[in-house]
Each structure stands twice: as C-alpha cells, then as structure tokens.
Symmetry: C2
Subunit: 199 residues, 2 copies
C-alpha cells in the first residue's frame, strides 16, 4: 500500500507551472482584470485550448498561484523557531518578519495584486492566510479569549489592518525596511490585539 498513489503525469505539473508563471509575470505588467486567457497561454507558450483542460477561468489559475505562494509562507513560518522565553508581543515578531520578507521576495506581484488595480479575491485570500498563520495562533495562546462576534470582529480588524499596511508598504516603495516594519507592528499594534484577547 506504499506505492498505491499513481504518480501524476509530469506534463500536468509542467503545464500548470508555466501558466502560473505566465500569469504572475503578466500581472506585474498590466491590471489583472484586463488580462485574457489568450494572453496568458501565449506568454506560457501553450495552446489556448490547453488552458481549459486545467482551469475554468483566470481566477481559478490565480487561486493556484495564491496556493503556491501561501504554501511557501506557511513553510517559512512553520520552520521559524518558537520563542516562549520572550514576552508575549515580542514572541511573535519573527513571524511578522517572515511575512514582510516574503512580500519583498515577490514584491512586484504582490504590489500589483494588492493595490488599487489589483484583485479583490486575491486580497481576501491573502487576508485569510494572515488570519490562519498569524492571528489564529495568537488567539490559541490566549487562555480566556472572547467569544462569538467580538472575537470575529477583532480578528477581521487586525488581519485587514495588517493587509492594509502590507499594501501601503509595497505601494510606496517600502519606505521603511522589513525589519523596521515588523518592529513597529510588534511594538505598537500587536499588544492591543493581545490585550483584546485577554478580556
């Protein structure tokens, strides 16, 4: 039962990779909403009809791109050493730092997708990822966190705010370093969130 998993056809992975690559390149060159399937497949060097064998539309392909990027994020954060020796807010600074490093690594794409000319769906996925990787774990560390709508409101506020800062940071050509941004957020914003959870 070890080899039960039939190896997937390598052509599938290759094709989808080329499509993701093409989409991410084109998204940095023009508004996502004005891209066409034709354009993406041309850039990928593939036939237009091949696209439909894998996705039903550009948003599905975009979702795939997000999955890949956020997977990298997740791994980067998981292998980040926990620091229970530090006081509450400072403990989380490395995680915040990883997010900014990741944004910087894929700067052009994130700037394009999170900005005014970006995509609402991608922004929502990005925010959900932040909730899952940053704000849910912090909640779990709090003993008596609030319940129901109050908790939901807090999580939404802080993940949306974080995404807003990320957007501002990229749109303005990173006016402060990734480290400085992480420090300011950890010092000025996170304590308030933690205090909110400890009600």
């Amino acid at each position: 039962m070890s080899k039960n998993e039939a190896r997937p056809d390598p052509r599938i992975g290759r094709t989808r990779g080329l499509l993701r690559q093409a989409l991410m390149a084109l998204a940095t060159e023009k508004r996502f909403g004005s891209l066409s399937i034709q354009e993406v497949t041309r850039r990928a060097g593939l036939n237009r009809s091949t696209f439909y064998l894998h996705y039903s539309g550009l948003h599905e392909l975009l979702e795939d791109c997000a999955r890949e990027l956020f997977g990298q994020m997740r791994e980067s954060i998981y292998q980040c050493p926990a620091r229970p020796d530090l006081p509450s807010p400072e403990r989380y600074e490395p995680y915040v730092r990883r997010v900014f490093d990741h944004l910087q690594e894929h700067e052009a794409f994130y700037r394009a997708m999170l900005g005014k000319r970006g995509d609402s769906y991608f922004r929502a996925l990005f925010q959900e990822m932040l909730t899952e990787l940053i704000f849910e774990p912090m909640r779990d560390d709090a003993p008596g966190s609030p319940h129901g709508s109050q908790l939901e409101l807090a999580k939404r506020f802080y993940s949306a705010g974080f995404a807003g800062i990320a957007t501002w940071w990229l749109e303005n050509g990173r006016p402060i370093s990734a480290g400085e941004a992480s420090r300011q957020i950890t010092r000025d914003l996170l304590p308030d969130y933690l205090r909110l959870l400890d009600i």
Copy 2:
C-alpha cells in the same frame, strides 16, 4: 459675475443618473468584473454609444457612483453635532455610527463591491473616504501626533481595519446591530488609535 455659471444641460445629469442607477443595480446581481458596458446601457434604457459620451469605461462610472455615495456620507457626518463634552473616544462614536447606518442603507451594493467578488478600486476609494472623514479629523484633534511613516502606518492600519470590519459585517448579514458595532469599535479599537497619536 453672479450668473456666470452656465446651467448644465439637464439631459447630462439625467443620463448619468440612469447609468449610475443601472450599474448599482447590476452590481448586486452579478460580479462587477463580469459586467459589460452593453449590459449597463441596456438596463439603463440608453443607447450603448451614449455611454462613451460620458465615460471611457465602467471604472469611471463606478468612480462616479462612489463620489455620489461618499458625498452623502460626508454630508451626513458634517451635520452630525460635535460633542466636545464627551471624553475622547466616545466623542467620535456618532461619526462611526453614521458610517454603519450608511452602509446599511445601501447594503446590497456595498456587500457586493467590498466582498470577495467586489472591486479593488472601489475598496481603495472607500478606505480613502474613511481616512478623510474619520481618521484624519481625529489626527487633527491630537496635539503632538507622530510624523512621517509612523503616522501613515497607523492611519492605513486603522482605515483598512475599519473597512475590513465593514466587509465582515455585510458579508455575514449584520450579525450585530449598527449601534452595537459602533459601540464596540469606539470602546475597543478607537482608544488604541488615539493613544498611538498622542505619543
């Protein structure tokens, strides 16, 4: 020099009003990104070519819709009586309340435009409006607010967070009342912003 302003042709206002109305209705029925100029003009009962006499694309019309809505917001807040007798955070609760009332009044449209299937540009405009009507004025009331990137970061965080809450509120069918939402925000979130400004 009093009558120097030539009265604008009433047909223009009427036509643009019909187009705005049609767009706002259609946006609640299907994803904004999939709307066509043809569809909007059909719904408005106008000829397709008329559209191009006023706008160069759907986003320009959308901008017009935003201008109208945010103008209503602005008026509603301006005629809101100032309460300098109340302590800092509570003083602003009526303003927050007006925002939620306005969202509720145009609930379907805002839910459609701010949600996952909404439009990035509209969200950006909405956030800028919040900054201008809520968070800039609060900054002006603070004597020694921080400067440069630190202030920008705080404003972005809180306006984005506020927009995030508004989106959550609409997406989930208003799990709490407008009054309750305003109260929670004023009590739990605004004090932190004011504290940040008073550094």
